[in-house]
Symmetry: C2
Subunit: 114 residues, 2 copies
Amino acid sequence: MSHDATNAPAAIDGDTARLVAETMQALATPSRVLILGHLRTSPLTVGDLARAVEMDPSAVSHQLRVLRHLGLVVAERTGRTAIYSLHDEHVAELVDQAVHHITHRRLGLGSHAS
Amino acid sequence: MSHDATNAPAAIDGDTARLVAETMQALATPSRVLILGHLRTSPLTVGDLARAVEMDPSAVSHQLRVLRHLGLVVAERTGRTAIYSLHDEHVAELVDQAVHHITHRRLGLGSHAS
DNA sequence: TGCACATATGAACGTCTATTCATCATTTCG
DNA sequence: CGAAATGATGAATAGACGTTCATATGTGCA
């Protein structure tokens, strides 16, 4: 997902498609996008996230489990609380680029491809 | 989704999250990833795609409708056939980056974030 | 030590969705 | 002109899934 992803790939194989879909699934519901977007700005507890995205803490916790299992977020237990962060810079970039894509689509900046 | 998506955004608002999720949905199932992946390499007819991704033509056609409505692909009618292409370079980049992300995850290249 | 707090997890349920099967519309060709 | 080819669309259905409610677990504190 960096600027050197410019060599047109061979058509995607089934396994890759599955993996891509699995990960993109994380960004396919507004609730998870919101969660990842907030974690993009700083590490947060479940409670912080629930308040920030205005969701039930249980719903947030469920979604965080999905994200954890996908390897997109990590939790650091601190006493009663768990501090969640994005797993790494790649995830951060994934979120940024998803948002950026929407922004550029809005601006109508496009040229024909394929 | 280019390399200047480096300014950490404010936390995402609900509308943006909805739009992001809507678009990412296109990449959230293997069948659509495969279709987009093939269209990444060249324009193709529905029949070509069906054979390439080993899906029923009707299933492909349905998915193409989803992708059309999301503005990710365009169809050019030529007699009996319709030639499908990715809508623009942004979509191509979206596909590339989704694949690239998986590739880099596989390689275990990551650093902590957030 | 018992209660409060934070979070994880499971079950239930309503909603969503991808594929299949059927049907239709348009174009091409023998 | 009728049949074949191509692709769009609708309905049905099985499976997936996000949220709610309930319960469990671990930590902190008076």
